[in-house]
Every structure is written in structure tokens, then in C-alpha cells.
């Protein structure tokens, strides 16, 4: 078994007095797609953000590629080439699409050739963005903003890509394209992906492994297919499970 790329041990995190994570252990190995599923408010987005120290871990340890990153500042963590397409997309509304993408590229040191290659890849993935390059981020439709958020994350040539609900607000066809794109990036470049999805069916089919998060605790884990067959997963998240 290879050493994990991201290892989270006993992570606890809170917003003020509201405890969102109560001791979470998860691992993402290199070249692996991991799905995190759970109901609204289970702590999925908090888990993703706390990898970046927002909020800071109250207890526990976060390691990336063997380095303890628990107490690093958010920007230093980002510069280790962990990228996130966060909840709510968080596009810079008063920057052009091109500048939004450049912000992603700025996150990591890279040559001009590497930047070009990343841009070409993102343009190939989301041709729609190509037509919108000079347009302001805030004027894009929800789906386009989602593409931009994912594209921006990819521009930093991440080693670990974290996607918070990438299919939210997208037409089913485009959602499918995005899942397809994630699979391709994973197969071709060996990109490790942590994906949070309401659409558990899609996510678990895509993922090698998955975790189920309930009220700030991991209650189940296993391979994607295993989880898909568990009756409790089916009942809660698949069969009419979109609360």
C-alpha cells in the first residue's frame, strides 16, 4: 500500500461553539478518487476547508505528502498544490474569466509553457469558457461559474484537487462531462481527487473509495461499489435520498 497523499487524523473543527467535525480520519492516496458523501450540514464542506486551515483544526493532524500542514497558513497550504473548487464557487465577480484563471495559475510557481498547457487543457475541457474569456466572472451563469471554479483550480496544476459539489447547478449533460473530465484527469495525469457530492450515485461510481460523513463523524467507508451496495447508503443517499 502506498503512503497516503493526504492523511487526516482525528480532525476536530468548530465554528465558534458549533462543533462541525468531531474526530474525522480519512486518507487519500496518490492517483485515487475519493468521494465524501453525507447529508446537508454533515460537515463535508467544513472538512474540505479545514484542510486549508479555515476553520483551524481544534485537535488532530493533517498531513500532505508526509508534511504536517495542520498549522501552516492557508496560502502556504495552497502553494503545496492543493486546489479547491469550493462551496458556492467563489468566483471573483469583478475580474474577467481570464483573470480568474490566472489567479489559479498564480497559486503555484510554473513556467509560461506550463501555464499555457494548463490553459489549453481547461479550454478543451470547458469550451464555453473560451467564448467568455473577457467577460466578468459575475456575469456568468451558474453553470459557467461552476466550470470556471473547476478550471481555476486546475490552472494551479494541483496534486490534489478538491471539488465541492461540482455538479451543482449544472445541466445533467454538462455534469456528466465534468465527471468524465475528472476521470480522464485521474487516469492520464494521476491526479488525486476528493469529491463532495449530493449526487452520491454519480460520485460513488466515479470514485475508487468513499466515506460517509454523518454529523461530523465518518460512519462508513469502503470502495465505491461496496458503498453503493450498502443498504444504509442506498436508503439515505440514493433512493429518494436527495433531501
Amino acid at each position: 500500500m502506498t503512503a497516503p497523499l493526504l492523511a487526516i487524523h482525528g480532525l476536530q473543527a468548530a465554528y465558534g461553539k458549533i462543533v462541525a467535525l468531531k474526530g474525522v480520519d480519512i486518507e487519500i492516496r496518490p492517483r485515487e478518487i475519493v468521494a465524501l458523501i453525507g447529508a446537508n450540514g454533515a460537515g463535508k464542506s467544513t472538512l474540505m476547508m479545514s484542510v486549508f486551515g479555515r476553520p483551524r483544526a481544534r485537535a488532530g493532524r493533517i498531513e500532505f505528502d508526509g508534511h504536517d500542514i495542520t498549522d501552516l497558513s492557508t496560502h502556504d497550504i495552497a502553494r503545496m498544490r492543493i486546489a479547491q473548487s469550493p462551496e458556492g464557487r467563489r468566483i471573483f465577480p469583478r475580474m474577467s474569466v481570464a483573470e480568474n484563471l490566472q489567479m489559479g495559475a498564480d497559486a503555484t510557481e510554473g513556467s509560461e509553457a506550463e501555464r499555457r498547457a494548463s490553459l489549453d487543457r481547461v479550454m478543451a475541457l470547458f469550451p464555453r469558457l473560451k467564448e467568455r474569456l473577457t467577460q466578468r466572472g459575475g456575469t456568468l451563469s451558474g453553470g459557467e461559474q461552476q466550470m470556471l471554479a473547476i478550471g481555476r483550480a486546475l490552472m494551479s496544476r494541483p496534486r490534489l484537487l478538491m471539488l465541492d459539489e461540482p455538479s451543482l447547478g449544472l445541466a445533467p449533460l454538462i455534469a456528466k462531462q465534468i465527471f468524465e473530465a475528472i476521470r480522464t484527469l485521474n487516469k492520464q495525469d494521476g491526479l488525486a481527487v476528493l469529491i463532495v457530492e449530493q449526487n452520491a450515485n454519480h460520485a460513488l461510481r466515479l470514485a475508487h473509495r468513499g466515506y460517509v460523513l454523518v454529523n461530523g463523524l465518518i460512519t462508513l467507508s469502503g470502495t465505491g461499489t461496496e458503498l453503493l451496495q450498502r443498504p444504509e447508503v442506498r436508503a439515505a443517499y440514493l433512493e429518494g435520498g436527495r433531501h
Binding site: 479555515r54 492557508t74 496560502h75
Partner: protein, 304 residues
């Protein structure tokens, strides 16, 4: 017409100085959402640093005016930028995650501290300097009134234009400018993209202070004097300019500065000098009633 042209020139020069200060207010408001009440005093510090540098350069025997001006400009910008950086570090950064009014109260305190520091260190008297830049041009004459354009007025306007061009390039084209805009729009996301938010905020204060220093130096050259209290009124005027132009908007700050400068000059010329401040602030009130976000401001959109 001749009289009006003369007032137009005077107003634009005064407005340039206000505009340079107003940029500092609007930049800081955009990025950290606070009014830096000490910014007027940073302008005053800039004036004093310019004066001291000037006296030192003259006392070591430098006589070539363009070189003196350039050196004074650079030293004033650098020293005042250091003040701006320190003020943010000491008085605002520790309070950034406190309640919203805390940094503003701290800014008012910092304003008093700087005013009194200058008074104690430099004395309470007005410090005059002999005219450094003299001469000018007579543009035209009508009805016995000669329209004058002095060399110092030309220097003020050209320096302002050059700085504005540089500054616009910095904000719109460079990595630092992009980082500043990113922090202004979403600090958390900027950090997630590897932007050092603290450093970017520091740089915002540094740039704002450097521009205020230039304004301070121009004030010194134009009016031939500085005093420890000059930051108060100029600061409030420039703040008014920033609000008039639309707080948070960089072109707005310059437009607001020019408007305040022109209103003040025209009012003094045609009505009464005593009421020039009343005129400027009254127009501000009228504009804010009809355009609550200022001339070029954008409406505050509630984040979801």
C-alpha cells in the same frame, strides 16, 4: 472667461492633491472595509519628510532643482510608506478579526498619535519654505486679467498624471494588483489560491501612503508651508472626495478629488472664501441623497 479659466486651473491643481490622498482612503476601504482616519496624517507626515529631506539636500550643497525634487519625492515616498506600513501593523492588523468598529476607533487614535508626534517632534509653528519652483507662463489676457499657469502647477498635474498611470497599470496588469483585487473581492478565496492576504493588505497601505506622500510634497511646493495639523482638514476633504466618487472605486477617488477641488475653488472665486468648506460638504450631501453610492460607486450587494 479669463477669470474662470484661472480658477479652473487652480481647482484642477488642488483637486489633483485631494485625489492622490483620496486613493489611499478608497483602496484601504476596498480591501479591509475600514476608513483609515489616520490617512490624512500620513499625508502630513509626507509633507514633513519632504521638507526635512529638502533642507538636508540644500544644506549639503545641492542646487540643481530637478535632482532635488526627484530625491525629495523618492525619500518622501519611501519614508511615508514605512509609516503607512507600521500604522497598519501596529494599530489595525491585531484588530482585524475584532468587531467592525474596532479598527476605525484605533485609526482615530492613530490620527491623534501622529498629529501629536509631529507637533512634539517638529514644533507647533507653521514651517514655511522659500519657493523652490518659481516662474510660469502667462497663457492669455482678457479685460486686463492675465491667466497664469505656474511651473509648480504644471509639476503637480504632470506628477499626478504619471503616478495615476503607473498606479492604474499596477492595479490592472501586475500580479500584486491582481492579488489586491482578489483580496478586495474575496479574501478567503484569495488565500485558497496562495495569496498572502496579510502581505497584500500591507502593500495596500504602503502604496496608499506613498501616494499621500507625493500629495504632501506637492502641498509643500504649492503652498510653501507645512504644519502638524494640516492632515486633519486635507484628510477630511480627501475622504469626502473618496465618498463623493464612490468609496472603493479608484477612478471615483480621482474624480471626487477633482470635483472637490473645483467646487472649493469656484465657490471661493465667485461667492465667499469663508464658506468654501460648507460648499464642498453641501454638494457631497446632495450627491449622496441622489446617488447613495457616489458618482462611480457600485451598489453594495449582499453576499449570499
Amino acid at each position: 472667461m479669463a477669470y474662470f479659466s484661472q480658477q479652473l486651473i487652480n481647482g484642477l491643481v488642488l483637486g489633483s492633491i485631494y485625489g492622490l490622498i483620496a486613493i489611499g482612503y478608497t483602496m484601504v476601504y476596498g480591501i479591509v472595509g475600514m476608513i483609515n482616519f489616520a490617512h490624512g496624517d500620513i499625508f502630513m507626515i509626507g509633507g514633513f519628510v519632504a521638507l526635512i529631506t529638502f533642507l538636508i539636500l540644500v544644506s549639503i550643497g545641492l542646487t540643481f532643482v530637478p535632482v532635488i525634487l526627484l530625491l525629495v519625492l523618492l525619500v518622501a515616498m519611501a519614508m511615508t510608506a514605512l509609516y503607512g506600513w507600521s500604522v497598519e501593523r501596529i494599530a489595525y492588523r491585531p484588530l482585524r478579526h475584532s468587531f467592525r468598529l474596532a479598527p476605525m476607533l484605533s485609526a482615530i487614535g492613530m490620527s491623534f498619535a501622529l498629529t501629536n508626534f509631529a507637533q512634539v517632534a517638529q514644533g507647533a509653528r507653521v514651517k514655511p519654505v522659500p519657493p523652490i519652483v518659481t516662474g510660469g507662463y502667462s497663457l492669455f489676457e482678457r479685460d486686463g486679467f492675465v491667466v497664469q499657469l505656474s511651473n509648480i502647477q504644471i509639476i503637480v498635474v504632470i506628477t499626478t498624471l504619471v503616478l495615476l498611470a503607473l498606479f492604474t497599470w499596477l492595479v490592472s496588469r501586475t500580479r500584486l494588483g491582481r492579488d489586491m483585487r482578489a483580496c478586495e473581492q474575496d479574501q478567503t478565496m484569495a488565500a485558497l489560491l496562495g495569496v498572502d492576504v496579510d502581505r497584500t493588505i500591507s502593500m495596500t497601505f504602503v502604496i496608499g501612503a506613498a501616494l499621500a506622500a507625493v500629495a504632501g510634497m506637492m502641498y509643500l511646493l504649492y503652498y510653501g508651508l507645512v504644519d502638524f495639523f494640516m492632515g486633519f482638514v486635507a484628510g477630511i476633504k480627501a475622504f469626502t472626495a473618496a465618498v463623493l466618487g464612490g468609496i472603493g472605486s479608484l477612478p471615483g477617488a480621482m474624480l471626487g478629488g477633482l470635483s472637490i477641488g473645483l467646487i472649493e475653488t469656484m465657490w471661493s472665486a465667485y461667492f465667499s472664501v469663508e464658506y468654501k468648506d460648507v460648499a464642498a460638504f453641501s454638494i457631497l450631501i446632495v450627491v449622496l441623497i441622489f446617488l447613495p453610492t457616489g458618482l462611480l460607486g457600485r451598489p453594495e450587494v449582499e453576499k449570499v
